[in-house]
């Protein structure tokens, strides 16, 4: 693949331009091999819709969320203060996040530390672009596929965003199936609360196995996610169940980016 053009906040700033949106990439978005593709997909969508945005690039740093959820409030606040200083320095007003954990913490927990922004989850942003016709999508692009969607906890239960990702998916003419545990009843992938960075405590099985069983029960060819951690967990779960020939895990941004019509 070729390099894609992404506007950098510092560069725009020296040109005296203040973009409307900051696209907060997040650590998984920047470094996780699989999830980098999702970041690319979302940037392609932003470019296709001619959105006035920028990323922080090398100036971005961890929001502090995994530290906070693991009890390290000191490290969290050091990170948060650093991020807020950068964002306020650029006069950022609107932030788009892909990662629901970044989204939750910037939206709900940064204001009390002096970081007040309009924080938008990319699922809602994409839905808006699709609904308003700012991007054109081949609605037959996923023909004959069966698809299900896994609710990330920090997006759904945490922030009540259940419909936007579903509307994005159902923009395609596809066979959409809900899992038996969906929306506010959804089962966690097992990665939240800093579990992503450690082995699980001992038990009878991994949480992702339990959740993958829900996915497989729908008979879906695609399980869509909207969170980097959920993606890692469900991709592992599908491999673990030896179903990687039958089911693939894709992000909602990838579904749209791969079916963009010029």
């Amino acid at each position: 693949m070729t390099k894609i053009d992404v506007p950098i906040m510092a560069e725009l700033s020296t040109q005296g331009h203040q973009p409307e949106y900051l696209f907060w990439v997040g650590c998984a978005g920047a470094f996780d091999k699989r999830y980098q593709k999702v970041t690319r997909a979302f940037a392609q969508i932003l470019n296709a819709a001619n959105i006035d945005y920028a990323v922080l690039g090398t100036e971005e740093t961890c929001t502090g969320d995994p530290a906070k959820r693991a009890g390290n409030e000191m490290l969290y606040q050091m990170q948060a203060m650093q991020v807020i200083e950068t964002l306020n320095g650029y006069g950022v007003k609107k932030v788009i996040c892909t990662c629901p954990h970044c989204f939750n913490i910037i939206k709900n927990e940064y204001p009390e530390l002096g970081g007040d922004y309009e924080v938008i989850h990319y699922s809602a942003f994409i839905q808006q672009l699709v609904d308003s016709g700012q991007i054109k999508v081949n609605q037959e692009g996923l023909k004959n596929k069966r698809i299900t969607y896994h609710d990330p906890c920090y997006l759904g239960r945490g922030n009540g965003i259940y419909e936007a990702p579903r509307k994005v998916i159902n923009h395609f003419n596809i066979d959409y199936r809900e899992m038996k545990r969906a929306k506010s009843f959804s089962l966690c992938c097992g990665a939240g609360g800093a579990q992503m960075f450690k082995e699980a405590e001992k038990g009878q099985k991994e949480v992702y196995e339990e959740r993958t069983a829900d996915v497989l029960e729908t008979g879906a060819n695609i399980v869509a996610t909207a969170c980097p951690f959920c993606m890692t967990m469900l991709t592992d779960g599908i491999k673990f169940a030896n179903k990687d020939e039958d089911v693939i895990n894709m992000d909602i941004a990838e579904l749209i980016a791969q079916n963009l019509v010029d």
């Binding site: 693949m1 390099k3 894609i4 950098i8 990439v25 650590c27 920047a30 470094f31 980098q36 593709k37 970041t39 690319r40 922080l56 690039g57 090398t58 971005e60 740093t61 961890c62 502090g64 995994p66 530290a67 959820r69 693991a70 009890g71 390290n72 409030e73 000191m74 490290l75 606040q77 050091m78 990170q79 939750n104 709900n108 927990e109 009390e112 530390l113 906890c153 239960r157 945490g158 922030n159 506010s184 009843f185 959804s186 089962l187 966690c188 097992g190 939240g192 609360g193 579990q195 992503m196 960075f197 450690k198 699980a200 405590e201 038990g203 009878q204 099985k205 949480v207 339990e210 959740r211």
Partner: protein
Amino acid sequence: MNQLVFTIILIAAIAVLLRSFWQIRANFALTRDVAFDGQVMKRLRLTAKVALGQTKILRKPFIGLMHALVFWGFIVITIGSLEMVIDGVSGWHRSLSIVGPLYTVIAASGDIFAYVVLAGIILFLARRLLMHIRRFEGAELTNANKTDAAIALGFIMLLMLSLIGLNMTDLYLHGSELPGAYPVSASLLPYFDLSTVNAEVMYSFYWWTHILLIFIFANYLPYSKHFHVFMSLPNVFFSNLNPLTYLPSMPEVQKEVALMLSGNAYDAAPPEQPRRFGVKDVEDITWKNYMDALTCTQCGRCTEVCPANITGKLLSPRKLFVDIRARMDEKSKNGSGHFLLGDYISKEELWACTTCNACAQECPLNISHPNLIMDMRRYLVLEEGDAPDELNAMFANIENNGAPWKYSAEDRLKWTEA
């Protein structure tokens, strides 16, 4: 004479109850204070919806509806209980009938609900005692807890039976002269032959049994998980209005971070020592955490949906609040040398949480489990430096390169090239 005896018993019952409340108040005084946000209207609406409207318990439609009927019945029947207290002190009979036609509605709904509640309680007892329902099992549900559940349900069952007996005998004695309407009892009365017994004695028996059961039950509640009868409304009123995944920052850490970032850490006066970072024992929890513990009726809806629990890990969200209550009871009896964290709740439980908030979502009374877990993790990390090795490695990565993984900030744009 009856009035005097009744009044003395009433005063004694209230006095004992107040004594129990006084102890609970003393327990609250041990806990940490958090400011009330003053959003009264919003909270009243929430209470109307979640507590009175029973919206969250109805997430399980059938058994939720049974509970809702019992709860609504309880409210209606309580009006009748107040009337009995007035009757008992004054020597009148059905004193609330002075309200006129409305009394028919009160009496009729009380009569109907007595049977509905009885049916509900029999079902609940069968579920607790005969059926093996997963959420009524678990390490924290000791035999004492199971007995407590059965006793509470037994009380309510006897209360309903005595109320039904009271209505029937009253109807038999007064016929159409009796103020109010008692549709179910009236339609069942012909099937009972009361002519062979002394109906007046039976009426007195049921009346006294019912009111004495109320007094005993009320005084049993402060020592029972069924205390949720008292706590549910206030607990919902004071519950979290923020998104479920909102975890408040620690203000005491904020001060230290501000000092460090300003570079004046050494010049400034030493900050006053906070009691303790995070939660180690019951004096570190907030009054709301303790209220949650008093509210929990051990229904297990939280544990039933916990991903850690489902997959066989030690964590059971319900256990946290059972533990808080037990530890508080021990502490109030001067149980020194023990701590909530360590002696009741293990580190293994705390580190198993994914903070998915399924527990908090499911709790019919808006108890917040994950933030309590986070507060205990805060104690472990900030006071003891005791985190799993992999998490310490994650902390080090964030400190050194601003990401939880070992990647350099220089590479943050690599994704554009891949």
